[in-house]
Amino acid sequence: MVNVMRDSDKQGWRHFIRIEKRLDVPPVAYVLVLLLSLLLVILLCGLVLARMGYHPLEVYKTMLGGAVGTPYNFSETIAEAIPLILCSLGVSVAFRMGIWNIGAEGQFFFGAFTASLAALYLPSGLPRVVMLTVVIVAGFLGGALWGVLAGVLKTLANANEILTTLMLNYVAIGWVDYLVYGPWRDRAENMPYSRLFPSSAMLPVYPGTSIHAALLLGLLAAVVLWVVFKRTTWGYEIKLIGENPQVARTAGINIARNILLVMLVGGGLAGLAGMGEVAGIAGRLSPNISAGYGYTAIIIAWLGRLDPLAIVLVSIFFGGLNNGGYALQMVGLPSSIVTMLQGAILLFVLGGDTLMRYRIRFLGWRRDNR
């Protein structure tokens, strides 16, 4: 770094700013910048809240209380994170290959549907182990089918996956709507949801909380994916295709096969999330099993830099954010505050990220005398 700016302008003062890429960023910087970004979000949104006539500290206290205030609230946050973990891991697999799978929401709903199909139509007297295995596998396969559908369209017809996955979301949501308002409608209560699952089809729940067994599936998936990306030839193929598909082609990698595979795995994981919500929380198929998990997952995947373990942490954070939002609604505050916070967090964290990877050198005002 030789570049001490020398005075270089006879006509007057000049202002120097330079943007350079940083070569080495210590890991601790990531954490610091993240914390700083969050602090800025709190300050900025606090100003907005104050301007709106709310007491910022009260609002934050309510949110924090809702997210982690009591052991029970914290357990709710973890429960809320379960579908986020599974959906985010799901989309991250395709993202790593440069496939823009934004269809986690649809895969979530279709997985919820197939899991419900198994839970409602298998003989309820089946042993619980068998029943649950089938329900879980059905959830995975449903989501996988929905993902592969977009993959097939891409490999056969070169259809843009952004459009197909997005449109398939509406198909899957519409299909679940049709079922619960139509043939699957609960006759006893005449409400738009299916009848309750038999207890043998319900996932084990940690006593006294809403944390259900899909959490284990999510954590397992995170560890497996971490190993896949770090150590395996398949992870290498995915990365190479994502970085330069031409090189992958010359290396003899079957790109079509890998597109189908990542859509299968990614869709399956989102399908498991849907399964978890019906078989772990709701106990029935209903149209409001998702708080936009499939879409939030896209944000989480990027904030977690597609790293499986980071995604788990970010998911828990967003779970807390969602729960904080519910707590706000409970005391009569608009839940759109949470939407604002989520947006601000995305902006600031990504901005902080950029600043961390690029150095802006402010070289002051200098005078030249050459």
């Binding site: 030789v2 570049n3 700016m5 020398r6 030839t233 990365k239 010359t250 290396a251 003899g252």
Partner: protein, 503 residues
């Protein structure tokens, strides 16, 4: 004539903390053709990008006609009479030549009087001998013609100083002379031309004066007439260079690649290879000479298994491997260094280690049951780096941080790692500096000595004549004949490259 036109004084510019230009000085007279000579990474293009307003120098000043100027954009530079023709052209394919030339001009507004503009630009082109049809749409033009359009764009904006970044790199030998004639006629009118190059022959032919850059510093400025190729080379590299020489001989009688009657289409569905036949024997270098775009790209893709054939057959080690999958062809011992090393050869954001195993990652020697042993791969990579003398920031750093020459060495290292039976190299030394060119040519010769067959595709006749044991000339997807580089004349090859059959 010897009036000083441009002065660049103590220009420094660094990227990511690495100095690309370190207090570089450049003096250029008006009406001269000034060559900026240096190896890749010497800082030539950086310096000219500063002059063209693309980069802002960290320090230093630019003077035109003794007056200090500040450039903040290419538009700024053009206003000051400075225009640059970059290596990759910036033209709109679907527009005509005229439309491209006037595109973005403030003086041409509203309804275009195309007839008048066509005529005006046609006249302009004639004046400088830049043969191109103003009414033609750019996608119809050859590379040489596109370059003329870029030059026209600058001349039409009345630049006094034209910068050409490696203008001959994309041209066929036939297109070089007209370009040089045009440049001379511009200089004859009092305009100044700066030509970036690393080719000594070119410098000796076209330049009036030469400034040599090395390692981001200006080494010297000399008159062409008072220097020699040897002296320039010494200044450029900082040491003497030895030319790589082939111990010419015919290979064995064992064919490693035998192509008979191959036909294939290009991406647009037009015939690219028609009834093409040749054979590469073990222990020889077969050169393929030809003007780029005569089927070379498709030929490489067919041999790699990336493009299917419509007719004919391909034998590798006497095994019929027509239309086999890329992986099968790799496993049969075929190594390919593609034409476009950044687009087809390397994944720039991935590390040296990851790029090194692109062709062999699935090999049991590199993974156990689908799991990599990174420690072992790292050792392998360190060995390769040492053996091939690859300069890198680190074997786990992205290869985009490496210079073009080192990237190419990495590609050759990767492809020769498993001792291939056939090595296909397309334009392997294009854009490389002298040092890297020598290293790459030596690798090909070593492979040949080891007994591999080498298929060398190039448009550099000097390189082909120096390295090949036999030269096949390709024209419109056909082989015009096979000649002996020891006895053939350059004129003869030139004629064959234009479609004359070998009698």
């Amino acid at each position: 004539m010897d009036e000083q036109f441009l002065e660049m004084r103590n220009i420094s510019k660094s990227f990511f903390g690495i100095a690309a230009n370190d207090r570089v000085n450049l003096l250029v007279n008006s009406g001269e053709i000034h060559a900026l000579l240096g190896e890749n990474g010497a800082g030539k293009t950086t310096l000219m990008n500063v002059l063209a307003g693309l980069y802002k120098p960290d320090e230093g000043s630019i003077l035109i006609g003794g007056k200090r100027i500040t450039l903040t954009s290419p538009r700024d530079a053009i206003r000051n009479g400075i225009g640059m023709v970059h290596q990759n052209f910036r033209l709109v394919d679907s527009l005509t030549v005229t439309e491209n030339v006037v595109l973005g001009l403030k003086s041409v507004r509203g309804l275009l009087n195309l007839a008048r503009l066509h005529e005006e630009i046609g006249r302009f082109a004639d004046r400088f001998g830049l043969k191109v049809d103003p009414k033609a749409e750019v996608w119809q033009l050859s590379v040489g013609e596109r370059q003329r359009v870029e030059i026209l764009k600058m001349l039409y904006r009345q630049v006094n100083l034209l910068i050409m970044d490696e203008p001959t790199a994309v041209l066929t030998p036939q297109e070089v002379q007209p370009l040089f004639d045009s440049l001379r006629s511009m200089a004859g009118e009092g305009r100044t031309v700066i030509i970036i190059t690393h080719k000594l022959n070119e410098v000796m032919e076209i330049a009036d004066r030469v400034t040599v850059l090395r390692g981001g510093k200006s080494i010297a400025t000399v008159l062409k007439n008072k220097t020699s190729k040897q002296e320039l080379a010494r200044m450029m590299v900082g040491r003497e260079i030895h030319e790589v020489k082939n111990r010419r001989g015919t290979g064995s009688s064992q064919g490693v690649l035998e192509v008979t009657g191959i036909s294939a289409l290009n991406d647009m569905g037009l015939a690219a290879l028609s009834n093409l036949s040749f054979c590469v024997y073990s222990g020889e270098i077969l050169g393929i000479a030809g003007v780029a775009g005569n089927g070379q790209k498709e030929l490489v893709e067919v041999v790699s298994g990336l493009r299917s054939t419509r007719a004919g057959s391909m034998f590798i080690n006497s095994r019929n491997m027509t239309n086999c999958k890329p992986r099968e062809i790799i496993d049969a011992g075929v190594a390919v260094v593609p034409e476009d090393r950044v687009g087809m050869g390397l994944a720039l954001n991935m590390s040296l280690v990851e790029n090194l195993i692109v062709k062999t990652y699935h090999d049991p020697s590199n993974n156990r049951g689908g799991f990599f042993n990174w420690k072992q791969l790292r050792q392998k990579a360190e060995g390769v780096v040492r053996e091939f003398d690859i300069k890198t920031v680190g074997i786990f750093s992205p290869v985009k941080l490496m210079s073009g020459g080192n990237q190419q060495k990495l590609l050759f290292a990767r492809e020769t790692l498993k001792d291939p039976r056939l090595l296909v190299a397309a334009y392997p030394c294009r854009g490389l500096d002298l040092g890297a060119t020598g290293a790459v040519q030596q690798i090909m010769l070593d492979q040949k000595e080891r007994g591999a067959g080498v298929l060398l595709i190039s448009e550099d006749l000097d390189e082909l004549l120096g390295l090949s044991d036999r030269i096949a000339v390709i024209y419109e997807g056909r082989i015009m004949g096979v000649v002996d580089p020891g006895t053939v004349s350059i004129e003869k090859i030139g004629l064959m490259m234009c479609g004359e059959r070998n009698a």
